[in-house]
Amino acid sequence: MKAYLKRHFASIICGIIALVIMWAVWFIACKIVKNEYVIPSVKQTFGELFKLLGEAFFYRALLRTLEKSLIAFVISFVLAGSIALPSKLFKGVDGVMRPIIAVIRTLPTMAVLIPIILYTNRFTAPIIVAMLVLFPMIYAQFKSALDNIDEQVVRTAKVFKLTRRQKVVKVYFPLVAPNLLSHTGSNLSFAIKVVISAEVMVMTYTSIGGMIQYAGYEDLPRLFALTLFAVIIGIVIETTFHLLSKKLFKWTRAEGKND
């Protein structure tokens, strides 16, 4: 623990400074506005947050939101990976996918939300909306990770006549895995954000978005508390996956060299 703190002392100090700055901005905004119905104070918001944490409904809503986010992420990830690899191996696939990805990426997602609800339901619609946002992002991450594989690695695989399966399973996928795992945290965090936004729009009842929608303008401390919770959970997820990617892939860590 001591060694960890010593190694990451600078990062910890920077994190604390950032938190102090954000708290200071919030505090100053409250003092300027002087209206708790417009900007609730830090004390009120945290008070409301602790109240939420004692409510059973909050946990049911949280689970439903996380469930939708996870479904959207997993489907997007599998789809993106399944298409990105053939895109790397076969130029024709890449040529076909580029305009499709461009269309999906530029689609105004909230505008397609209404037709999506008409054909699905309040549970599925936020998942589809999140997928429309996530899929192009994750596809680009896959492609970037594959494109950044060192050309020398590709040459070496060719010289030693590795089979396609060996290249994919033993070389390409393990080389892109740390990068993708590190992105997974931010992708999941983003999925939660998009799902919550969609839940607000479609008024999904048992969900964080639904709770935000219900809090509305009349219960701003609750609105702020829910928003704060969403931010905290996003940060926790991102940090967890970032640390996991460092822990799991020993070969990326530069230990003391021999000689």
Partner: protein, 213 residues
């Protein structure tokens, strides 16, 4: 013999080889010397089909030791070797000869440049091929390790009657290693010696100074 006939190769407008021909004797170690840009590495790329070319080059199953180790970073040294051959006995023997036996469970990032290059040498040797190509394979080894490595490899290549083409800019390496030394300049053979003597090193230094002027 492995034949190269009327090889033509250019990069953009720059001609590297024009109607170049060479015969490589099987079971012998051929060293190719020359200044930078004379076509040494291009010749290896042509033989290993890593680059396109015009002309006739015998198709041979090649193994290649690159100038840099080019180990797969996500695999340990041993896993890198096992990817190209299952001959554990040969892996153990070579890793002992090249003094890297205790590094086999390390990842490339945790090896020094010299250790990684020796693992790369082992990989090139154990891969089942008719021709071993080596592109300045000893450049990252320090002096003591280099000549111990050359001695060990030369003995092994002789025993196995391995066909080797090695590119180097180091005259001493070439003289230590080779049965035949070829000096390239401007894509042409300016020196070709199959009967190496004690005078060969001086001859080569003289020629290299001449070709660099």
């Amino acid at each position: 013999m492995i034949k190269i006939e009327n090889l033509n190769k250019k990069y953009g407008e720059k001609k590297v080889f024009e109607n170049f021909s060479l015969e490589i004797e099987k079971g012998k170690i051929t060293c190719i010397l020359g200044e930078s840009g004379c076509g040494k590495t291009t010749l290896l790329n042509v033989l290993s089909r890593l680059t396109d070319f015009e002309g006739r080059v015998d198709e041979v199953n090649c193994s290649l030791v690159f100038q840099t180790p080019n180990l797969f970073p996500n695999l340990t040294a041993k896993q890198n070797l096992l990817l190209v051959s299952n001959d554990l006995k040969k892996i153990d023997a070579l890793s002992n000869e090249l003094s890297v036996a205790d590094k086999l469970n390390s990842y490339p990032k945790h090896l020094s440049g010299g250790e990684a290059q020796r693992i790369s040498l082992i990989r090139g040797i154990i891969f089942d091929a008719d021709l071993l190509l080596m592109d300045e394979p000893f450049s990252s080894l320090d002096l003591g390790v280099k000549f111990r490595t050359i001695t060990a490899l030369k003995k092994r290549f002789k025993e196995e009657k391995k066909t080797v083409v090695m590119v180097t800019h180091d005259v001493k390496e070439a003289v230590e290693m080779a049965d035949r030394i070829i000096l390239l300049s401007g894509g042409k053979i300016v020196y070709d010696n199959k009967n190496l003597t004690k005078k060969t090193e001086n001859e080569l230094f003289g020629l290299l100074i001449g070709t660099n002027n």
